[in-house]
């Protein structure tokens, strides 16, 4: 069985002009937190990132491989790659080796053809586009929050708040998620990364 447990909460939301991606920062080996400041938001290309959940070794290897393939493809094309292409490359790898891998990945970014896009590639290797997507063991606790609070046409700021709150709620309830919240906003202008430290996370009553 893989060395690292799939404890994680990851999330991505589309808005008009880009995407907001977020993740917690906890990686566990059994009950021990091996890294409490993990960066699960991995750059694949200039305006394409992925959120990684599942086995750390597997997802790092897959992300490295896709980064190489996408970089090569982009140079051949002589233009920035499409988010859909990156998602497809992830899907190819995750589906072909589905028996050997444990990886749940959310691919998100911005390209000039379709704007901000979020694609989810869960364990098993399916790929589909969703306006909002959550993943990892902590996601089960926030489906209700996400389904009831997501509206189309939210602004960039609203999406950031929405993501931060959703991740905080998941981290509160899921033992395998925690640490800090890492956020990234990808748009035509580029990538803007933020960290929300533990004591600055949004708090909810229920003492």
């Amino acid at each position: 069985p893989p060395h690292w447990s799939p404890g994680t909460t990851i999330m991505a939301v589309e808005f008009d002009g880009g995407v907001v991606m977020g993740a917690d920062s906890r990686t566990t080996t059994g009950a021990y937190i091996a890294n409490r400041v993990t960066d699960k938001l991995t750059p694949i290309h200039e305006r394409i990132f992925c959120c990684r959940s599942g086995s750390a070794a597997d997802t790092q290897a897959i992300a490295d491989s896709v980064t190489y393939q996408l970089g090569f493809h982009s140079i051949e094309l002589d233009e920035p790659p499409q988010v859909q292409t990156a998602a497809n490359l992830f899907k190819e790898m995750c589906y072909r080796y589905r028996e050997e891998l444990m990886a749940g990945i959310i691919v998100a970014g911005w390209d000039k053809r379709r704007g901000g896009q979020v694609y989810t590639v869960p364990v098993g290797g399916m790929m589909t586009r969703q306006p909002v997507s959550v993943g990892g063991s902590g996601s089960t606790y926030i489906y209700g929050y996400v389904d009831s609070n997501y509206r189309t046409g939210m602004s960039r700021e609203e999406c950031l708040q929405f993501t931060a709150k959703a991740l905080s709620l998941a981290m509160e309830r899921d033992g395998s998620s925690g640490g800090v919240v890492r956020l990234a906003v990808i748009s035509e202008q580029g990538v803007d990364r933020q960290v929300i430290l533990g004591n600055q996370l949004p708090r909810f009553s229920a003492a």
Partner: protein, 279 residues
């Protein structure tokens, strides 16, 4: 002319190769119904730690190697040389950490010769990650890699399945919980050299005290842009005992009864001269 850099390892076919792990699972099934298990490798209980400080990296390790409950080596070296500016602490299966770091060091030396460049820490990490992932966890190497190159000071952990974490302070091995407690309490960004050395030493000491698999002395390795200071041992065990007997024998202990010298006759059979081409 082949432009590729030479490599001791044969580069395998592209893509992932999981043949061996499948084979091991099949063998376990076939050989005796669960009674025969693939042989369990020898592990060294260990405490290893690393800290990034103001001018570089400090790595630390204990020096005990165990064979079940017997201490096999009281002064084993767990901080391995990788490159002039990169060292690696190894926990897990003793043979695996030894050979993996050796292979890595050889490959990086070949790279240096080929390209006239000092290797970067990220290169060592990438090579390790690639190799360990390919072997799907069958190589039991838990490594802490530290070094300084022109991009700065770096500290990485590499797990046996090929996962990598870059962090400012780390502990691994069976004594890692004890060491991590000390590091979490005492670490600050941009420590001074003596603060960093004391911190790492206390962390290893905590592992030595609280973990049966760790013990004896504390080794330290300080890496900076200027060079490396390998301090072995940095702190000796306070439980060192005095040897009661002498194990070395003085010359003359065994009396010589008779001496007979016979010269060996050497006959020249054939002589050839090959002229060297000089321009």
């Amino acid at each position: 002319v082949d432009m590729a850099l030479s490599n001791v390892l044969e580069l395998p076919a592209s893509g992932f190769n999981f043949e061996n792990s499948a084979r091991n699972a099949v063998l376990e099934d076939v050989l005796g119904d669960g009674k025969t298990k693939t042989p369990k490798p020898m592990k060294t209980g260990t405490t290893i730690a690393g800290v990034v400080y103001k001018d570089g990296v400090v790595l630390g390790a204990d020096t005990r190697a165990t064979s079940s409950e017997v201490v096999a080596d009281k002064m084993c070296a767990k901080i391995h040389y990788i490159a002039p500016n990169i060292y690696c602490c190894g926990a897990g299966t003793a043979a695996d950490t030894e050979k993996t770091t050796d292979l890595l060091s050889s490959n990086l030396t070949i790279f240096s010769m080929n390209s006239s460049r000092n290797p970067r820490v990220i290169m060592a990490v990438s090579i390790l990650q690639d190799m360990l992932f390919r072997y799907h966890g069958q190589i039991g190497a838990f490594l802490i890699l530290g070094g300084v190159d022109f991009t700065g000071s770096h500290l990485y952990s590499v797990g046996p399945y090929g996962s990598v974490n870059e962090v400012p302070y780390l502990a691994m091995g069976s004594g890692d919980h004890a060491a991590m407690g000390i590091l979490e309490d005492g670490f600050k960004p941009r420590l001074e050299l003596d603060e960093a050395k004391t911190l790492v030493c206390s962390a290893i000491h905590a592992g030595i005290m609280s973990d049966l698999g760790s013990g004896s002395n504390v080794d330290l390795c300080v890496i900076t842009r200027q060079g490396v200071d390998y301090i072995r041992p940095y702190q000796e065990s306070e439980f060192k005992d005095q040897r009661q007997g002498r194990y070395k024998y003085k010359p003359g202990t065994t009396p010589i009864l008779r001496e007979n010298v016979e010269p060996v006759e050497v006959e020249v059979m054939q002589e050839t001269v090959q002229k060297m081409d000089t321009a």
